[in-house]
Amino acid sequence: MGRERETQQQQQQTSYTVEELVAVNPYNPDILPDLENYVHEQVSSQTYSLDANLCLLRLYQFEPERMSIQIVARILVKALMAMPAPDFSLCLFLIPERVQMEEQFKTLIVLSHYLETARFREFWDEAAKNRSIVEVVPGFEQAIQAYAIHVLSLTYQKVPRPVLAEAINIEGLSLDKFLEHQVANCGWVLEKSHDRGQLIVLPRNEFNQPELKKNTADSIPLEHITRIFSILN
């Protein structure tokens, strides 16, 4: 009986997700190995948890001798993939400067800078030179392409094909295929431009079509008026 209960308890303990572990023990150094494993899991299963990764970086910050450079690099690549969210700099704040001086971190910082300034050509060139750092994380390319499309959709209603090709680093037949998929699934439309080039019409949103923004006319909400009721009396 006693033993049975024990194994049951153990099972219950292991059934905690890592996110729950973080929520219950945000300041407990004992969960460090779980968090490290969880980084590998995020890489292989293409999932992401900023909270868990920040928690791990925090534990590294408190006990620098336990820090694994390789795991920190994985976290940073994952954070780049979370663009446009500022996760990369959030993680960087918790990494000591002397560690940031390591070659692979310098590369990642440069990559982040190119993404922040929408210099996609330079980004893809630099990424190609550093396959060993970024390609170990599955889904990297797709994540950056998604970010590029996000920025393009904020900016363009109609984007020329070469501009899109450069931003997402896809050309020729592969691009045709990609476009076909986007047309079928994401509401993209293809057009010819006046000089016969291809134009891609991106779906409209309130950012590339400011007229869609909610109208802020000169009106006063009722709750504000109520504040002067007592005076009007």
């Binding site: 918790l94 990494i95 300034t117 393009l152 904020l154 984007v159 400011p210 002067i228």
Partner: protein
């Protein structure tokens, strides 16, 4: 617990006898003890804010208060009262002298004992919010102070190094975070705030006090510990986690955090700073604006408060942070007239230079940021140059903004010529502008902070003018309230003479209500 003898050889003050208890101190502790036992919050607050400061100014300007062992016979050797007395004793010491390492360690021990007592639910006191806030505030402050002290290893004596080794748990970062976290959890404050939304609890409505015979101590300490956690995380450079700790408190409304001005300012300062680091500039601007307006209106009532210097300092720092935010994200619409005037007076000239893109502008960002940021703590000094990095990345944006304001449509080629860059570069600048002005908010949604709206159609930029019509209705509303408030003030003035020190708490609550009355919806 350290005995008074521990301090004998360390007290540099000539003539300070830790065992001598003057009559006034005797009276003070006897009365304070009685009021605490009788749960007379009003009198406790009077003695805590008033008498303690007065006695400190008169008799203990440069020396510590009498030791706890010397006063304990006058208070039935009450364990909890002695912990509270020592808490004040150390706070007074930190404020007026420089604590020795042993004293730092003892003070940490005292906080641990005090929090243990509270966490185990054996206290049945009702303490003023001001005091409970001060405990959390001081706990984090002494932690910060200890980290800075320890970081200066060079000029430590061997004796000090031995002590540091002997007490590695003193002000240990895990200990500090876990005490704050334990107070939050044990108090079930998050649940209480949730239930209050459904009308099942009366926490905010009662200003945190318990009118049913219970104790407010754990609940309110738990509440303020959420602000304490935000602050510690900011000191460590973890802004995302810091803001998460504050989520249960709705800072868009008044609450228990706004009752004590120190707590109000600390909360908003760190909230705004964390948002600045997360690039949610508009959110930072909105909250800085609100609290700066509040300080502008009500600082006069706090002139006699021991925190007055701190209020002024944070006030100045927040104007500097506001100047940074507005330079990176020009959203002047969000700023109230009076705050804007103050801002122009203090930083108008610097802000004009920050719009330029040269080394001097860069140095100005650096200067303002170093002046206004929290004093970060080691173990590892965080990289805190976010506004500088962002400034670098935004260098060309101000130029493009001013061109865009002149046109309704302009070709990419022409704009590139004006900006003196090639076309591909111009396209990246346009996209950077969009990226930098569209941020991810706390719910993960994309929000626009842009002051110029545009879109590109193939090779042409279309600028959409979103001239927000001046909000006259709102202007009149504010004027009506302003005038009516003058009437209220001139009637009620006598009650609120700060010099008479009638009731510190009612000053706060009157200023509270006028604040929310006078400033609808901003």
């Amino acid at each position: 617990m350290a005995t008074s003898a521990d301090y004998d050889d360390r007290s540099q003050e000539i003539g300070y006898d830790p065992n001598f208890v003057p009559d006034s101190v005797k009276t003070f502790v006897v009365h304070l003890y009685r009021h605490i036992r009788e749960k007379n919050v009003y009198e406790i607050h009077q003695m805590y804010e008033g008498s303690f400061q007065k006695l400190s100014d008169r008799m203990f300007k440069e020396s510590p208060w009498p030791s706890v062992d010397a006063v304990s016979p006058y208070v039935d050797n009450d364990h909890v009262f002695c912990l509270l007395y020592r808490e004040m004793w150390f706070r007074h010491l930190y404020a007026r002298m420089s604590p020795t390492l042993q004293q730092r360690i003892d003070s940490y021990d005292n906080y641990c004992s005090l929090f243990q007592v509270v966490l185990h639910g054996v206290v049945n006191m009702q303490l003023p919010n001001q005091w409970l806030w001060d405990m959390v505030d001081e706990f984090v402050y002494q932690f910060q102070s200890f980290c800075q002290y320890r970081a200066k290893m060079k000029n430590k004596t061997e004796e000090e190094i031995a002590l540091l080794r002997q007490f590695p748990q003193a002000w240990n970062v895990y200990g500090v975070l876990n005490y704050l976290q334990a107070l939050v959890e044990k108090s079930t404050i998050i649940l209480i705030l949730e239930q209050e939304k459904e009308g099942l609890e009366q926490f905010t409505a009662n200003d945190g006090y318990d009118y049913n015979g219970g104790s407010n101590v754990l609940k309110v300490l738990g509440y303020y510990s959420m602000v304490g956690l935000l602050r510690v995380h900011c000191l460590l450079g973890d802004y995302h986690t810091g803001l998460k700790c504050l989520v249960p408190i709705d800072i868009s409304q008044s609450g228990v955090f706004t009752i004590v001005i120190g707590s109000h300012i600390t909360t908003i300062y760190h909230y705004g700073f964390a948002n600045l680091m997360l690039r949610r500039y508009a959110e930072a601007i909105r909250e800085f604006n609100k609290v700066l307006l509040y300080i502008l209106k009500f600082k006069q009532f706090h002139q006699k408060s021991p925190q007055f210097d701190q209020i002024l300092k944070k006030n100045e720092q927040m104007y500097a942070l506001l100047a940074i935010c507005l330079s990176l994200c020009p959203q002047v619409k969000l700023i109230e007239e009076n705050v804007n005037n103050q801002l122009r007076e203090k930083y108008g000239e610097k802000m004009a230079r920050m719009q330029r893109y040269d080394d001097e502008a860069f140095a100005l960002y650096d200067e303002l940021f170093s002046y206004a940021c929290p004093k970060f703590i080691t173990p590892s000094p965080p990289n805190f140059e976010e506004p500088l990095v962002n400034y670098n990345q935004q260098q060309l944006l101000s130029g493009i903004r001013s061109f865009l304001k002149l046109y309704s449509t302009i070709s990419i080629a022409k704009l590139a010529t004006y900006m003196e860059v090639d076309e591909p570069t111009l396209r990246t600048i346009l996209m950077t502008y969009k990226h930098k002005t569209h941020v991810v908010d706390i719910d993960g949604k994309i929000v626009s902070n842009a002051d110029v709206d545009f879109y590109v159609n193939e090779d042409t930029v279309h600028v959409v003018e979103t001239k927000s019509a001046k909000n006259y209705g709102d202007y009149f509303m504010r004027q009506i309230l302003k005038v009516s408030m003058l009437a209220i003030w001139s009637v009620g003035r006598d009650d609120r003479q700060p010099g008479q020190n009638k009731t510190g708490m009612s000053v706060v609550s009157i200023s509270e209500s006028t604040y929310w009355l006078s400033f609808p919806g901003y």
